[in-house]
Amino acid sequence: MDAIILQILNGLDKGSAYALIALGLTLIFGTLGVVNFAHGALFMLGAFCAVTVQRILSLSYSVLDETKKDFLGNPLKVDTHYIEAWFGPEIGASIIDWSVPLAILFSIPVMIAVGFIMERGLIKHFYKRPHADQILVTFGLAIVLQEIIKAYFGANPIPTPAPALFTGSFDFGVLIGFAENAITYPIWRLVYFIFALLVIAAVFAFLQFTTFGMVVRAGMADRETVGLLGINIDKRFTIMFAIAACVAGVAGVMYTPINSPNYHMGMDFLVLSFVVVVVGGMGSLPGAVLAGFMLGILEAFASMNEIKQFIPGIDQIIIYLVAIIILLTRPRGLMGRKGVMEE
């Protein structure tokens, strides 16, 4: 039982990342009708916002220590962080320790700007082009973005730890009546799950309870009619693109303590997230969230030894297998609407 609960937690955690990326993808597809293959790259850019903030906070000056030698036998250069010199070692170290949460504040304007520039500079020229053209141009953009990141940050993963307060694991089992240490789970992964729920709730609330959201929903349903009412729906859709980029970005920032970011991480999530969108139903926001968590949990269960012994290799194909079954039985996905991506 404890193993099953652990895998449910793992599934919810994986599903959080899938749902956040799929949510952004669906927002863009539902509003602009663009299949954005660069969305994984936006997740990756968010993660590198965290790396950038960590590096900015860790800027340092070197002092030669004559008592120690470097690998060439020269006096060792000892680095001291400016922030520790300015605020004292303890406060400075604490600020660096909190670089990932601080990076969220940094990433929001950066990702909104990236989304705005991307939509106005490139994507808008492809609105009336076939989906194949959109896929090609956004996929090309994703490759360009990841190569830029690789050229600047290198190909290796860069450790970006969570604040010390959130490292280690939490005894989840005690909360639900299990023995001590029976079900322990990493604290940051729980933080990530709660964060994902909050972001998802905020996006839904924004669309549901604000005038802006109401107009956007109306535009998603019938763009022409909204336009005829004298509303500049294009402007609102551009803002929605920037918001979707921001959601992917903050998801990337928060993901960095889970796995050290590298330039390729966006691509790792992209294909799975598209499967999530298709399974959830093209253009359906609740479908994307539901499918994200469902496929995350199924993937976690498929990795269990008991399942793998019964069906070897199932962990590698489970998501695609489920996608095939769902699309055969419900061609529009779990919550897809008639008319979306259909002639």
Binding site: D79, N156, S169, A182, N259, D268
Partner: protein
Amino acid sequence: MSKTNLTRRGLLKTGAGTGAALAMPTIFSGAAWAASHSGFTNAPGDSSVTLGFNVPQTGPYADEGNDELRAYLLAVEHLNGEGDGGMMSTFTSKSLDGTGILGRKVNYVTGDTQTKSDAARASAKSMIEKDGAIMISGGSSSGVAVAVQGLCQEAGVIFMAGLTHSNDTTGKDKKANGFRHFFNAYMSGAALAPVLEKTYGADRRAYHLTADYTWGWTQEESIVASTEAMGWQTVEKVRTPLAATDFSSYIAPVLNSGADVLVLNHYGGNMVNSLTNAVQFGLRDKQVNGKNFEIVVPLYSELMAKGAGKNIEGVFGSTNWSWKLQDPGTLAFVKSFGTKYGFPPSNAAQTCYAQTMLYADAVNRAGSFNPCAVVEALEGDSSSLPGIDSAANHGFVFDGLGNGQTMYRASDHQCFKDVLVMKGKSNPDNEYDALEIVEVTPVKQVWYEPDHPMFAGGDLGACNPGA
């Protein structure tokens, strides 16, 4: 992309060449080879010779590939008489004098393997056919090394493997034209097991997570064999997809499996992520069976250790070489590399530098670029390593390239030398100081016979000089 260019005529020529090579008496030495500078693939002209360096320049191992490339460029500089000469001054074979190889200036071309077998074969093929490369070297993945080694055998050029750790490279997939300086998975197991027993005891229960491809399989087999031989039990062996990025669903079952050691048969990004995930799940703070839970990473890379950050502290693993060694060869190489690039070389860089030097030296000793002459020179004579009683203990013995006394074994083209057991350092002085040397395991302890079951099934075959 991997289609060979063998024609009927080429095949006949190759066959004739191979037959002639087999028929030659062993007395056929360098002087005799020197009589002919033609009749083999990409015979160089009188002024220059081209080497092909095939490393991952893009993809997840690009940083490691670029470090290998730095070492190759340094080796070319030294061979051409530029720079400080690096390990040429400490290498015990004294045929290299800074005038290139056999008096020809060394040029090079590079290829990008992308850490994909088909891309690596395509780039090696291009370097051989279009650029006239007479030797291909490179690595970072055993799957790639095995694929390129096979291509070089077919094409009739020498393959000097870079970083490749699978037993299969010089086991079931060994080829006469291929040579590996890097150590292998069996050697990692043989070196690590005694240290693990001394540190953690003989009564342990190990859980293996293994990358699902040739290197992972052979490492798992090697570590399981060596740890079970000292009394450890293996609780579970779980294969993980090479493309996996989040290992949480593979780590979670370890928590209540009864295991008290987790062995991560992962490399590169897989290793960084699985180790990070294992630490997140609190494995290193756990007590199981009355003992502290421990993690072992049998194959370490300095570059990947950087990526794992503090998670690597106290974790045991093994490497082929370390810039922290204090032998004259290492000191010369680290000074040369560090002065040029500003940071110490990785063990991938060292093996690539050594392979280039070993190839150049073999050509000079043979007096010919003919691959069969080079093979003969690298297989050496009756020289052997001291203290090892084996009929297979003969080959080319040398020293001064950073690993102490080393032998290229004639029977399988595997280098035998000391292996380093490393541990993640607690308070590193800088980002290059993530690992510390725990023990230099003597070569005798990592020796195995060529027909060892983990290496069985292959046939070295005859050298192929090509057309």
